[in-house]
Assembly symmetry: C2
Homo-oligomer: 184 residues x 2
């Protein structure tokens, strides 16, 4: 950030102001304050007849790797709507939310992942352009070595273990500390 | 937003580009894209010996009204750290997270509330400058008519009902549709 988006001035400065507990970027000309906040990524674990919906990335980063469908939440939608939309865009599957499953922070890059359990309504097998292939995979078919993000692998492994026991918890985790299980 | 924060140009335009599913603001000069994403608010329901930690706002909006301690998540922290920090700043209480309790979207203003159940470790009764008063209140002492946000009142009422049954669920909700209960 080099210019004020309100007045165009280049007199930007970092300040701790008033009762605020964090330094912020201010415009030295018009006094506008610029807040930066973490972003939310929403997605789903979709199980159908013992298989799990995954997609192979067609774009950067990590083209060719497999993951769970998820993406940035947009303005004007709920977290659940974001998760359902991302599944549709990335896999061509229509799903409905069952329950929240995982809340995972990645403070190094200011992202928070919220993953839901979801039920498959329709699988068109027509994923969007960001996806090379979308498939329902049995646990033994999942390309475990080709899942790039450890958090995604971890969540999916736990989910499958819980699915086999028909008892689901809710996970809180952080990429620095590993995932913590909270049973309800 | 009137000027590009990267090059200072005022040639800003809305475009739908490439595979993107949403219109974005672009700089017509340097081509930078500006994303706007929802913000997360994290807080806690802290129960201690049958009483619930609440704070009375000293600042706008709604000074004098009571609420649960919560505030904007900052960059560089986890959601849990944000919730614990906000409780400390707004009530002077040190707490530890027990489990996530509520995930509530307010798409009209692009906010998502994540509330945790938390355990009281220490109550210094020295809240920060945004709070007029912080108190542990028994259910019959809670100023129900002076809680401005319906979602906060709703979450607290459900929590107390569940506390009396010693069985906690996890809530998903939206300010447009009311709160939905998902039992685990």
């Amino acid at each position: 950030m080099k210019y004020c988006s309100e007045c165009g001035s280049s007199r930007l400065e970092r300040r701790l102001q008033g009762h605020d507990t964090h330094y912020r970027m201010f415009c030295g000309e018009c006094d506008k304050v610029f807040y930066h906040n973490p972003k939310m990524i929403a997605g789903c674990i979709v199980e159908h007849e013992g298989k799990f919906l995954m997609c192979q990335r067609a774009i950067n980063p990590r083209p060719g790797s497999w993951t769970l469908p998820a993406g940035f939440m947009e303005c004007g939608e709920t977290v659940e709507e974001a998760a359902v939309r991302e599944v549709w865009e990335e896999t061509g599957a229509r799903v409905e939310i069952v329950a929240p499953y995982s809340l995972f922070s990645v403070p190094q890059i200011d992202e928070v992942y919220i993953m839901f359990r979801a039920r498959l309504l329709e699988f068109t097998d027509q994923p969007g352009p960001e996806t090379a292939e979308a498939r329902l995979l049995a646990p033994e078919e999942i390309p475990w070595e080709n899942i790039f993000y450890p958090a995604i692998k971890d969540i999916l492994q736990r989910y499958i273990a819980e699915y086999n026991k028909s008892s689901f918890g809710m996970y809180l985790g952080c990429s620095q500390e590993g995932t913590v299980h909270f049973a309800h």
